[in-house]
């Protein structure tokens, strides 16, 4: 799973002359700049796109706080590919092309169960790709169906942290292993569940205590 540069003889990789101290300081500045101006590609294939692109980008949650609001319609100008939604066989070559067209450095966040593993469509589906990592390398996984905007932001912050810590100019193609960014440490799963239960009970559309076995599911 994931990426990483398994070709050590990369022709693009050259040692930069000069003292290591100089490179390290430059690295810090460059990585800081890169991490704070991630331009995402406008790319969404199904329901997660509504959550991630609309909810996260809109005023209430506001992606602009993290410098990632400049959605680009062209892969040439984008740094970040957010895979928001189901990838089907027909989409696979297009996703690959989009990824290849993006200029280095490029980062990939896979949001939602579908992009991680196939999600709700993992079984009995004739066309759903089981995880975006089967097509392109992924840096950060954000689970959820769809993920909350908070979870997505946490994934973005995780990626920023990886960029700041990780890449250097001297080794442009090397990256860390992909990570799974679940929830911010202070938010408990119970809190989210209680909030959902409260909302659902208030509207009383669902019997939350029903047993799926009795429904024959």
């Amino acid at each position: 799973m994931g990426l990483i540069n398994d070709n050590p003889e990369n022709p693009f990789k050259e040692a930069i002359p000069g003292s290591p101290a100089f490179i390290t300081s430059i690295d810090k500045v460059v990585n800081w700049a890169r991490s704070n101006s991630l331009w995402p590609l406008t790319f969404g294939t199904s329901c997660c796109a509504i959550e991630v692109m609309m909810a996260a980008g809109a005023a209430h949650h506001d992606l602009a706080r993290f410098g990632a609001e400049v959605a680009r319609p062209s892969p040439r100008q984008a740094d970040l590919l957010v895979i928001a939604g189901t990838i089907v066989k027909r989409m696979e070559p297009l996703l690959k092309t989009l990824y290849d067209q993006m200029a280095e450095p490029k980062y990939v966040i896979a949001t939602g169960a579908c992009a991680i593993s196939g999600g709700p469509f993992i079984y009995d589906s004739y066309t759903t790709i089981r995880g975006a990592h089967e097509v392109i390398p992924v840096d950060v996984y954000v689970p959820g169906c769809p993920p909350r905007p908070e979870a997505f932001f946490y994934g973005l912050l995780t990626l920023q942290k990886m960029i700041i810590e990780g890449q250097t100019i001297a080794k442009p193609f090397e990256r860390r292993k992909p990570v799974l960014s679940v929830l911010p440490p202070r938010i408990k799963l119970e809190q989210i569940r209680d909030e959902l239960v409260k909302n659902l009970t208030a509207r009383s559309v669902t019997d939350l205590n029903q047993n799926p076995k009795e429904l024959g599911l």
Partner: protein, 155 residues
């Protein structure tokens, strides 16, 4: 002009010479036709009763009864009425007539049904796959479809 269902049914029955078979299963006004009368019925609905929009066309696979059910949902902007036409065709040799000469949109909707259920329409101008790759083998929406890619549900 808008009428009640009852007065519309009268209008409907006057337009056809044979009595119609209604299906009670759906909330929509539904008539059942034989495969050999399918095209004539739809033509009458279009030309005499002014059903000018084919809203949807789909197929349902019934492997136990060895049939494929074709569904046409029509809308008449003239009468403000919807009607559903259902026809059963043979599952092994599904060759119903194409209605793309009546409604142009049917061309694409029939391509979808051809793609997913393997129904080969007669007199269709351009019967190619629509959603799946051109070299796909089989019809994935048939209930007995299997291939190597599918992961079986383990329970």
């Amino acid at each position: 002009m808008s009428q009640t269902i009852e007065s519309f049914k009268l209008l409907l029955e006057n337009a056809f010479s044979e009595p119609l078979t209604y299906l009670e299963a759906s909330q929509l006004l539904t008539i059942k036709v034989q495969e050999n009368q399918l095209f004539a019925t739809l033509k009458t609905l279009k030309e005499t009763l002014k059903f000018d929009a084919l809203i949807d066309h789909a197929g349902v696979d019934w492997p136990n009864e060895n049939k494929i059910e074709l569904i046409y949902i029509l809308f008449s902007t003239h009468h403000n009425q919807q009607i559903m036409v259902s026809a059963d065709i043979d599952r092994n040799q599904p060759t119903p007539p194409s209605v793309s000469s009546l409604w142009a949109i049917a061309e694409w909707q029939e391509r979808e049904v051809f793609d997913l259920l393997g129904v080969t329409y007669k007199n269709h101008p351009d019967l190619r796959r629509l959603f799946l790759e051109d070299n796909w083998v089989g019809s994935p929406l048939r209930k007995d479809y299997k291939d190597d890619f599918i992961l079986e549900r383990p329970w």
